[in-house]
């Protein structure tokens, strides 16, 4: 399935499985495979310990992302949510594009799964550079990991810089309103911001790719929001789900819903010209067009899905 090789970070602690007395060619291959992986893992460790790697201007560390940050997400993608993608060919293999998607699920797993889809299943193995809320970067650990994974603050200068650099840039314009909405409002798109993402695309001439994600709404169905407590700790919302906080840490396990991610037909912005970014009417119209496309696709995908779980 995935053509990215997974190099283990740690030397496997468990004993090698018992072997037949005589070495068959099959085993010799396993042996050399083990050797190769061990060598790869050790080389990675040494690179990390001596600081022998490079990050881009945003702090994106591809070495770390591919070997440490993405591997734990893959089983979630392949086995737990059994994500199916369509329309990946709409994402260009080179050059910038703006991915605009719906946001849901209390925890932004939808964004992470989109990143896995593009890295593992796009022929060019593209890295998704997300534009994240400023809350992310004020949090310890989360903020620095987000930077290392290539994400940056959702602001126009950064969006334009990424698009100009030819990166696949991801934005979730609903923000906290989308991700922290109650379960009863599932698959209803919230307000789509002020169209900042459209003006970034217009200024850089990058195509906008509307992405519709089905499945994320059901992973943590939010039945109530502890608003006062959330405000007290400085969070935008504090969800109550059927399992959280009732089951404690167990409640943090997402429900295994079936996911569909559709990458829609690109909306070209190059023809409008750079000056179009200063035309609020056009910006609003394009914003609406993207929003409508995603909403319609969501309904179509929902009709296709037989049940929430399969």
């Amino acid at each position: 399935m995935s053509d990215a090789t997974v190099i283990p970070l740690h030397i496997p602690r468990r004993e090698e499985p018992p072997r037949a007395p005589t070495e068959t060619p099959d085993e010799a291959r396993a042996e050399s495979d083990f050797e190769r992986r061990l060598a790869g893992g050790l080389a990675f460790l040494r690179r990390r310990l001596t600081g022998d790697y490079s990050v881009d201007e945003f702090g994106f560390d591809p070495d770390l992302t591919d070997h440490v940050l993405l591997p734990p997400l893959r089983p979630l993608y392949e086995r737990w949510f059994r994500v199916e993608t369509t329309g990946l060919h709409h994402v260009p293999s080179t050059g910038g594009a703006l991915i605009v998607a719906n946001h849901s699920g209390t925890v932004p797993l939808d964004a992470l799964m989109t990143a896995v889809a593009l890295r593992d299943h796009h022929p060019a193995g593209r890295a998704l550079r997300m534009l994240a809320a400023d809350l992310v970067f004020t949090l310890p650990v989360v903020g620095s990991v987000a930077r290392k994974a290539g994400h940056t603050l959702a602001c126009n200068p950064d969006a334009e810089r990424l698009l100009r650099a030819g990166e696949i840039t991801g934005v979730w314009p609903e923000g906290f309103k989308g991700i922290g909405k109650p379960f009863s409002q599932r698959y209803k798109l919230q307000r789509f911001g002020r169209g900042g993402f459209v003006s970034a695309a217009l200024r850089t001439g990058a195509p906008i790719i509307p992405v519709s994600i089905v499945g994320a709404e059901e992973i943590y169905p939010m039945v109530a929001n502890l608003r006062t407590l959330a405000r007290l700790v400085g969070l935008p919302y504090l969800p109550v789900t059927p399992t959280f906080p009732l089951l404690g840490p167990l409640g943090l396990i997402p429900l295994p819903s079936k996911w569909l991610i559709d990458f829609g037909e690109p909306i070209e912005t190059g023809a409008y010209g750079v000056a179009a970014a200063e035309d609020p009417m056009l910006v609003f119209n394009l914003t609406d067009q993207v929003r409508e496309t995603i909403q319609q696709t969501l309904f179509t995908l929902l009709a296709q899905r037989r049940s929430v779980w399969s």
Binding site: E15, E35, R46, G51, D134, P140, R161
Partner: protein, 354 residues
């Protein structure tokens, strides 16, 4: 209009970069006189390296600078006497006086002197502040999210304000404001070089900022260009590329000590007392969130591409200081080799035994 400078006045000449600039200017044949000004006399070795620079020990409290400028008919002023660290400026209030009042005094003198044609100011990218809500890179047109309200950054902001005021009153003077990132290199002394020389480097737990530095040779080259040519405007001066703080610590072979943000105040005091490292609240903020600037203008309008990237500059610093790595990369490579051999051999033995 582009007149080559003949009489250059350099302030802050008792420090490494100022002294080096003065020394280099002495070698330019078209320059008749190089006058170095500082409130403190240069150290013996710096003094020996100053060449034909005429040193004037001037205090900001008397208007001596004005007299120097008019009598020597100075045409180019390079203002480098802006200090970042309180500990070698006799405390914060003295540092502020040196920085801000000193600049005002100098600008007042320049305004009166009709011979002055060019003013080069060494500023800092600290004017952009440092916060988690910053864009990934600052361009010259951007302003700090919240105006820096403390220390060096505040001084630099005020200095730039006064410099802009001067530019309005003397539009005939070509003004270059150079916003430098942190300097690093084998010889220069900066807050960062002191910080990375610590065997155990305190960091803020859970944060790993992006750092951008500038090699001392590149800094000198940019100052020289701005002094000798007509390069008006404000420009960010920093090396290409960034590194992460954790990465820098590892490359220097140091050991990082991540401490929770709450304990920072205590750590500051301990570190400050233990060595002469200037680990101020401002510094901590910088090491918490980092700062990276866009250097497109430096390359396009200024026509200068730094020779060292951030990583190269940092490696040159590590080599030049002969920092003895606590974690030795060569030994690590040997360990890697040994583990691999051992594992392969034991696996082979396992196969043979069964």
């Amino acid at each position: 209009m582009n007149m080559a400078p003949q009489v250059v006045l350099v302030t802050g000449v008792s420090r490494y970069l100022g002294a080096r600039l003065a020394r280099t200017l002495c070698d330019v044949p078209s320059i008749e006189r190089v006058i170095g000004v500082d409130a403190l006399p240069p150290s013996r070795e710096l003094r020996a390296s100053l060449g034909r620079t005429e040193f004037v020990r001037a205090d900001i409290r008397n208007p001596l600078i004005g007299k120097v400028i008019t009598t020597a008919a100075v045409d180019t002023v390079v203002h480098m006497n802006i200090r970042a660290a309180p500990h070698d400026s006799g405390g914060r209030s003295s540092m502020k006086e040196m920085n801000v009042i000193g600049t005002m005094q100098l600008l007042a003198a320049c305004q009166k002197a009709e011979t002055v044609r060019r003013l080069v100011v060494k500023s800092t990218t600290a004017v952009y502040g440092s916060s988690p809500r910053d864009p990934a890179m600052f361009t010259e047109a951007m302003e700090a999210g919240g105006a820096p309200a403390y220390g060096y950054a505040k001084d630099a902001m005020e200095i730039e304000g006064y410099v802009r005021g001067f530019a309005r009153r003397r539009p005939d003077v070509t003004l270059s404001v150079l916003r430098f990132t942190n300097f690093i290199g084998p010889r220069i002394e900066s807050v960062l070089t002191e910080y990375f020389a610590l065997p155990v480097v305190p960091t803020v737990l859970g944060f790993d900022p992006r750092l951008q530095v500038l090699h001392e040779d590149d800094a000198l080259e940019v100052l020289l260009r701005a002094t000798l040519r007509e390069l008006p405007g404000t420009v960010n001066v920093g090396a290409d590329g960034v590194m992460l703080l954790s990465q820098a610590i590892r490359r220097a072979g140091r050991i990082g000590l991540p401490l929770p943000g709450i304990t920072a105040g205590i750590v500051d005091r301990v570190v400050r007392r233990a060595g002469k490292v200037d680990y101020t609240a401002e510094q901590r903020r910088f090491l918490n969130h980092g700062r990276v600037v866009d250097t497109t203008r430096l390359k396009s309008e200024f026509g200068y591409r730094p020779r060292y990237s951030t990583l190269e500059a940092f490696d040159d610093f590590v080599r030049g200081r002969q920092l003895r790595p606590v974690v030795d990369p060569q030994r690590l490579a040997a360990v890697q080799e040994r583990v691999l051999r051992l594992a392969v051999r034991s696996a082979a033995r396992g196969v043979a035994r069964v």
